[in-house]
Symmetry: C2
Subunit: 489 residues, 2 copies
């Protein structure tokens, strides 16, 4: 085909906000998911998987940006013209699953689920359009003991992942504390629903914007660094101050809490105190704290809300401190199953942001994964003897060793370079000479790399002999194993 006739070529690229995951990150993530799973299982949670695609009406729309209709979710029409969406979290599918299978579930029903979710949002630093969540939820338990358990689960999970006690905190509040406060400043009733939501969103940004940013958002509004203006909730100063006072109260342990119940009311206070007492008695009082500034941005929470964050300072590559945000979050959502069935089903859960947590752990340095060992590479010196090299490779594998035969067309030098790229601990070489003697050469690449730093001639020769040597073919496995054992840590 001449160049002129060539069809237009597609460009090899990914849509914004979507990323490939390289081998090392996959291995680190899998190790982390395994640890989380172990802790969740120990609490009696059972796994469940649901598909990525659901009916749009079944998922509902509860994202923080639901005030922008048709945004936030990837949606498309099925052949029968019904709207489908990619799940935006793992909670909405759980509510659908529970409503569909309620009769057949043990009650309470503890389930965990891990998997990707999709958000059709403007991507930015730390904001992706596909990311993994790991959730645990308890359905059918109205007791705050279920909420307290999830807070302890969050704490135990972080410690199992190597975060030292004192370097994280699980913060607990109750959405109804805020509701009570809002009622006391005249913001109850349907007419004020919009204002209440605006207050919720403003408080949820405390971490990012600080107290002055929240004050502006509660009042007239706020211009951000890019010059964009966000309209405020337009509360009066008399309404703003009690809210700011509440969210600035220090983190409290359960027993301190009773003393702080002044000036603000609401049903939720009793529940918060109960959670505080439960976790204190179970020995978690130093890690699970009551914090009245926690509200969470999701509209569907109806009671206790919680979030966990790493308290140690986390820096980016340039040494700048990063605001990581919460790595676990959750709360009680007693109304989600009711959407389908009309009957209240109490439910509460937590969600771990897997990538964000992994990033935080890696930055903290508390979670080290050793790089995967590269394979032993069997070089191909004589193309007519590929079957022999293949058989050697299989012999190594059959002995439980990771091994591969070089599959390209290049010569010896490029093959050695390839073995380096593959992080191979050693290569196996058999040219005509070795073949004639019934031998193979084993070359230890890790030792070999160290040779250049040896100055003493005798040492050098000794190490060189150790780094590359011939052995009878029958001893291939044994001798390769000896080389691998040299470098075991």
């Amino acid at each position: 085909m001449s160049k002129k006739d060539a069809p237009a070529r597609p460009e090899a690229r990914l849509p914004k906000g979507l990323f490939d995951v390289p081998a090392q990150e996959i291995r680190a993530t899998e190790k982390m998911l395994g640890t989380i799973k172990g802790v969740f299982e120990s609490y009696g949670f059972e796994p469940l998987d649901t598909p990525a695609i659901e009916y749009t009406d079944a998922l509902g729309k509860f994202l923080p940006d639901q005030d922008r209709p048709n945004e936030g979710v990837f949606s498309f029409k099925d052949d029968d013209e019904q709207w489908l969406s990619l799940r935006y979290d793992l909670t909405a599918p759980l509510a659908r699953y529970v409503a569909e299978n309620y009769q057949n579930l043990p009650k309470p029903f503890r389930r965990y689920q891990s998997g990707p979710v999709w958000r059709n949002e403007k991507p930015g630093p730390g904001r992706f359009r596909q990311f993994t969540q790991f959730d645990a939820d308890t359905v059918g338990a109205s007791s705050v003991a279920a909420d307290a358990e999830l807070c302890m689960l969050a704490a135990d999970t972080l410690e199992a992942l190597g975060v030292p006690r004192g370097q994280y905190v699980v913060k607990v509040n109750n959405r109804r504390v805020l509701d009570g406060l809002l009622e006391s400043i005249g913001l109850s009733g349907d007419a004020n629903a919009g204002k209440r939501l605006a207050v919720l969103r403003a408080i949820d940004k405390l971490d990012r914007l600080g107290i002055d940013g929240v004050r502006a958002l509660l009042g007239k509004g706020r211009k951000d660094e890019s010059g964009d203006y966000t309209k405020g909730a337009e509360l009066t100063p008399d309404q703003v101050e009690p809210i700011l006072k509440m969210i600035q109260s220090e983190q409290l342990s359960g027993t301190d809490f009773a003393a702080a119940l002044t000036g603000i009311g609401g049903d939720g206070l009793k529940e918060v105190a109960e959670i505080g007492a439960l976790v204190e008695k179970a020995g978690y009082g130093d890690r699970i704290k009551i914090d009245l500034s926690v509200v969470r941005g999701l509209e569907y929470y109806t009671g206790p809300v919680f979030e966990a964050e790493l308290t140690a300072s986390i820096k980016d590559d340039k040494g700048q401190t990063i605001r990581l945000g919460s790595v676990v979050s959750g709360g009680r959502y007693d109304g989600l199953v009711e959407r389908f069935t009309g009957e209240k089903v109490p439910a509460t859960g937590i969600s771990i942001g897997v990538s964000r947590l992994l990033f935080g752990l890696q930055r903290l340095g508390t979670y080290k994964e050793s790089p995967a060992p590269g394979p032993v590479v069997v070089l191909v010196l004589d193309r007519d003897r590929i079957a022999d090299y293949q058989k050697m490779t299989q012999t190594l594998r059959a002995a439980g060793l990771r091994a591969e035969m070089y599959l390209g067309d290049a010569g010896m030098k490029a093959q050695m370079k390839y073995a380096d790229r593959r992080n191979a601990p050693c290569v196996v070489i058999q040219g005509g000479d070795e073949k004639a003697k019934g031998e193979v050469q084993i070359k230890d690449l890790i030792l070999g790399a160290k040779l250049t730093s040896i100055e003493n001639r005798d040492d050098y020769l000794k190490k060189q002999a150790e780094a590359q040597f011939a052995v009878p073919e029958a001893q291939l496995v044994e001798k390769v194993r000896e080389v691998l054992d040299r470098h075991k840590t």
Copy 2:
């Protein structure tokens, strides 16, 4: 809210062809994926993840039903009006990844990937709209040694999963054998592209339709059981017969193959013979067979094609034999990366249909997973003492035991029923009397269930005492562990 004012409720249901996966199947699948991963890693393949969503033009359309435009793939528009699709396999995203990152990859590049793919097809028995594939591909190796290696990988994987030798076969062919045959019967050239594709599709249905069905599809066409008519390739009888002869040739081992090279031509024959020789020399000749009826339905294959199937008879719940189809399939696709770059990059791979293989293994009975152990359930007899029960539960967990506290509102009888539902090996009970004595009751539910079958009174009393007994609270962990040890298999 009165019933009249209630908003319309969404129905709790999933779109057709999509399914929830219950705990036991998740556990079985995870075990299987772990085994596959282990074998793939031992061959030197490295993991890669790509996102679920790609640009539609980057994925291309290579599904068997590509002659129905706009079908087969879930697609939707991005905010900038560009078309996005859910990946329909893991090969197309790999081609995009390789084209995008070619300079930075070791060559050859061996990668494995596992994850869900989506097909917007009419669902049917064994046909889902979301299913999991587990792929291994080698990019940058034009040698048939790479193809032979993948066939051996398929065989080793099936054996690692417990399929006995002799109960599976990996079948190898080369798409160019068929091309050569088609040329010899006058079907070369662009004008015959449609006919060649029709021949490919017809042969690929041999398993399902038998030789008469293929004959009909190569000729005028075929009416199926439902009365639907499929138009045929409209070959003449002179053209049909050589094709039928080829696909009816018996499975051949590498050394038998040379004798069978009569009557049909083509470039591919040499390569097939080479693969046969390689696998024979590596000791796989009894499991990897040349089979000229294998063509695979995917249009993008350019050379060797392979598929593995379980040969043992597999029956459904009613005892009817099921045609399971291939559980591993693959082939060489040297043109996929070229779509992006304009330069040929040789590539070959296999794909495991995870659900289908799991189903087959479970039916064969060669892959047994033991049911997950249920948690120890701590009953709640006195609601005011929830913190104490919680602490007992935490004590059990801290000792590495799976344990949960009952979180519902129900009484003793319902709690025991719940523990049964949860498959609990034992429950822990502490009412007022036990508390006063500083004791807990441990009830062994597995032993308890066996009591009813004991007829001898003394035996019964002895076993009953073993099945429920009081211990000092300080011995909780030790004694629970003793009960669990009773039932270890």
